[in-house]
Symmetry: C2
Subunit: 148 residues, 2 copies
DNA sequence: TCAATCAGTTTCAATTTAAAACCAGATTGA
DNA sequence: TCAATCTGGTTTTAAATTGAAACTGATTGA
């Protein structure tokens, strides 16, 4: 069941990232993990994903160093899945997807969940790439240099 | 061939985004489009994707309003695929994936392509979510409020 | 002790993907 | 001009992936 890929070794970081997390379920598992979900059964119920697929994706995410398992914090003999440092660093990816979705995938007036600062309750400001001088960077103003 | 999904109508923007672009090829097509690729054959050769799959994904991206077709700019009777405004607004998503990949998916010293400011040649600074006051926002400091 | 829960694994059918062959219209070159 | 080639697909078929459900075995709670 678990995918054995030739392991993308190309020079494009986007391609490598997509290779690791560019999968419908993997990304949603990571999102739920940011939200505090960490038990197999909770992921399964939240996502409605088939158990075998969930099992496979959790294994891949652990192998990729994005999640790790540890003994369940409720003292039972079960284990739980938590984001590693590497997994936590996917935060900008999830936030970018969230912000794009909020802007483009909801009708005006349609309700959606919102990401807020836990401390102040304020919504998180829009995140976008900036040039070195701090100005907003439009897509056309950036370019990919091969193999720097 | 083209996928007919029940169209995700849940409240989570991340889930809706993933539903639209959370696919290995779709994301890479968008990346290439940012890079200036716009012809069917060029996408096909760059990505090495099967023609039927590419055909399907391009159709989905056009339906989703991320790409649009227009007469080829070289004056031939062919058409080309270009990012719409909605498509261009995926820039932060692609940048986030790129930056995560650069940091975590290359061995130290291993070369990779780099995103630079076309004007200055400087690499694009790291992009991360900020709190309302401008401070960096750690994942634990944010929380999802259901249905605001 | 015993039923229910948890975390998977197995099985098998249905869907999706990939590779290759095929095709029509547009373009090019002799 | 008209044959060869190129472009942008579609079709076909096999292989891989997914999903639903049944099954398993350990763990828990009463």
């Amino acid at each position: 069941m678990s995918r054995r890929k030739p392991a993308n070794d190309g020079p494009c970081p986007v391609a490598r990232s997509v290779d690791v997390i560019g999968d419908r379920w993997s990304l949603l598992i990571v999102r739920d993990a940011f939200d505090g979900t960490n038990r197999f059964g909770d992921f399964q119920r939240n996502l409605g994903v088939a158990r075998n697929i969930l099992s496979d994706r959790l294994r891949q995410l652990v192998e990729a160093g994005i999640l790790e398992t540890r003994p369940a914090s409720d003292g039972t003999a079960y284990k739980e899945y938590v984001l590693t440092e590497r997994g936590e660093s996917l935060f900008p990816v999830v936030v970018a997807l969230r912000q794009w979705g909020e802007r483009h995938l909801f009708a005006r007036g349609e309700r959606h969940s919102r990401l807020v600062d836990r401390k102040t309750g304020e919504p998180i400001p829009f995140m976008a790439p900036k040039a070195g001088n701090g100005d907003a960077l439009m897509p056309g103003e950036a370019e990919v240099r091969k193999l720097t």
